[in-house]
Symmetry: C2
Subunit: 453 residues, 2 copies
């Protein structure tokens, strides 16, 4: 019952519309020999590197997301399907969807990215939301803003202190950027908004198990990031493991000076707001692909691919971005950053066309463009190897570089204009325009003080 | 345990941070004799006249909302409380909150606005969401976008037709603007986005029980609006009552040529997307206030107030905006538009200060600034009485006037810049930047065709 009657070309199915899938789709969809189907559970491409800005009220969700259909609508060979890929039949070359399908392919591109991992403690998810989707970001924003609102109304000092304590778990780029933004919100944005509390008194802890933040950066950059965080009032606790997360507390070890250690020797940090930026694992579909093809995976469930990013024994299945262990250096695969997905997508797009020409694609080579993280207002760190010593900046220059790079890669020209407008305004006024509490608007019940025993 | 130790002034409590409450709060909060508490269930003021643009993907939620705290943060006499007012004790002069409180007042301002009314058919709400909050708007947006996605994937022609049929109930300004925006989306924005469906084929019905759309406008304006809607492909059905809304259909009477009338004589319009823009009623708190004070209400539960907008017998309780029947002409109260709330709020702010000066406030006089509605791209109707015949425009001039007025009243300078940027971009590209599906991202189960009997 298909409406289109044109002859069918080489059928490429791309699962996932993140950086990897999108950069693959943009070029493949222009090749007349190809029939492309792009499948995603969401109707939009999300610019994940700025997601923490939605979670902290600096940007609105629509400003960092763009409908997939509108991105590829000029590509007549491309169909976009809103659906969740759940299984793979590599013999019949079909992808199963949860609600319809299947989708037949000649070449499959798995670009389904990563989801949170709580390292086997899935019960922590309820108390410590992570940051992967727009809905995650608005939920995080809701919790952060509700905490200040509840503290304003709370009469019991102990509980007010719990509301005013924020724990960010994980000292990678997301954790560092979240903690920095929290510091800025507490010390700057909300400073004059409350009457009973003093928002700069908020206690913000960044907990990292390794011995430094930004462990993928050189040590000097980690030290610089730590200093900048501390200047924003963030308490950085490296070498500290989270051992449990429950409704009103996080337990860590070892204890630090000032911690409350209970009789059993457990260090409890009373808090109502825990943000998870620690672990990721491959998506469920990547796991299904590994199971169906017998592909090897790493501990996070990411598929180990060959030099051409295909599954060994399955040259028709590419796996790219965070779903894959993309080869790079002998001791280190491509890190889980946007550039990994972008370059994987571009490579696959070229490799498939090279094959249709009868050639053999050259192996994938990751070009490290460098890393940049922003820490609060007008400040950040960069680590851009190919710039030599000039690539290791901090402070304002890092912030400027960060701004330029993010605006360049943001999809959609209107979004670029709007985001620049917002940032310019934030820069001048110290405000944050998008501090909405949506979803459940009300406070959790504020308990009455218990009667003295 | 209050932290503030300064002497307590005249305590004013404002319930509701919409147009009425906000315009009352802005000036009262600057008077050193007054202690002001502003209570709202949401943490933001919402610019409701542009809510339909969020529902149709033209603007992002954060662009038409502004945190209440940041609007009044310069007013040292103002406390903002996030909470839901549930009851009133007029003897003790206290407002009860659902989760804490009570809030004591010397003067109370009830500005809690309106909510949807399904005219006694609350079961319709599930199938026909209304448009009052950001969450309503994102839900409406989700349903509209999902309908096109589902139609693209649906193989059964009958069901595809159901997904491609949109029914807007109610021909007031919200219904007209929603239907116009739907027409624009189908004919323009999405035109090139799909492969199996042709989005301009979407059937958009605007159903109104009265004999014309925009019944508050002069008849000529109603005719102009109808023509403009029809040009956008909207089928306008005036004089048509909705008798039932169920999961996959709306039933109406009387039938029109082309309708399918079943054996029992019922006209059923098969559709998966129904948008409610018909009835409103006073908020629950207004009803609680009426019950506690014995105030008279109209059929929609709005409180009948005296010439000074207070409840007869309760000079300390003002009711303004959509929660009240604000007096205007002999045969007609102030209509439920933004201007009613803004002018009510400004009046109350002045009246309270006049009383503190020992004076008696002059009666409230509503100044009709006129109405303006936009219908699709670059088109609309106005009815601005004080401009004489020049006030009755249509088409492009109406659209320009609409733009100027909305930008002027939008709260927050950053929002004005961002919204102008988006509109300029939409104007040039015919795009809509904020077409995100959030919340439940997936399609409802697409049923398999039933086996032939």
């Amino acid at each position: 019952m298909s409406i289109s009657q044109r002859p069918i070309g080489h059928r490429v199915a791309i699962i996932g519309g993140g950086f990897g899938g999108l950069y693959a789709a943009r070029h493949l969809g222009k090749d007349p020999r190809i029939d492309l189907t792009l499948v995603d559970r969401r109707n939009h491409h999300l610019f994940q590197p700025l997601l923490y800005q939605v979670a902290t009220g600096a940007l609105a969700p629509g400003e960092i997301a763009q409908p997939l259909r509108s991105i590829v609508h000029r590509n007549a060979n491309t169909s976009v399907i809103l659906g969740a890929a759940t299984g793979l039949d590599p013999e019949r070359r079909e992808v199963q969807l949860s609600d319809g399908g299947p989708i037949a392919y000649d070449t499959l591109v798995v670009a389904t990215g990563a989801k949170h991992s709580y390292f086997g403690h899935d019960d922590w998810a309820r108390f410590a939301p992570g940051l992967k989707s727009i809905d995650d970001a608005t939920e995080m924003r809701r919790r952060i803003l509700i905490a200040f609102e509840a503290a304003e109304r709370e009469h019991v000092a102990e509980r007010r202190h719990e509301w005013m304590t924020f724990v960010v778990v994980g000292g990678g780029p997301t954790g560092v950027e979240l903690a920095g933004a929290l510091g800025e919100i507490a010390r700057d944005t909300l400073r004059r908004d409350f009457r009973s509390i003093n928002s700069p008194d908020a206690r913000i802890l960044l907990v990292e198990a390794l011995d430094r933040v930004l462990p993928n950066y050189p040590e000097g950059r980690s030290r610089s990031a730590r200093r900048q965080l501390e200047r924003l009032g963030v308490t950085v606790r490296t070498g500290t493991r989270v051992t449990n997360i429950a409704e009103h507390e996080v337990t860590v070890e070892p204890a630090a000076p000032g911690d409350v250690v209970d009789a059993g020797g457990t260090t409890r940090i009373p808090t109502r707001t825990v943000l998870w930026a620690a672990g990721v694992q491959a998506s469920s579909f990547a796991k299904a692909v590994a199971a169906a093809t017998g592909a090897e995976t790493d501990r996070a469930g990411r598929i180990k691919v060959g030099p051409d990013l295909t599954i060994p024994g399955h040259p028709e299945i590419f796996v790219i971005g965070d779903a894959a262990v993309q080869p790079w250096k002998a001791d280190r695969p491509v890190p889980g950053v946007a550039q990994g997905g972008i370059q994987g997508g571009k490579y696959v797009s070229k490799a498939i066309r090279t094959r249709l020409d009868g050639g053999t694609p050259a192996p994938f080579r990751f070009q490290d463009r460098g890393d940049v993280a922003v820490i609060g207002r007008l400040s950040g760190v960069t680590n851009i190897g190919w710039l030599g010593p000039f690539g290791r900046t901090g402070g304002f220059i890092a912030w400027l570089l960060w701004l330029g790079i993010h605006i360049t890669y943001l999809i959609g020209f209107a979004n670029r204009l709007v985001v620049l407008t917002r940032w310019a305004w934030t820069f001048v006024t110290h405000g944050r325009g998008s501090r909405l509490i949506t979803g459940q608007p009300l406070l959790p019940d504020i308990e009455e003080p218990e009667p003295p025993a």
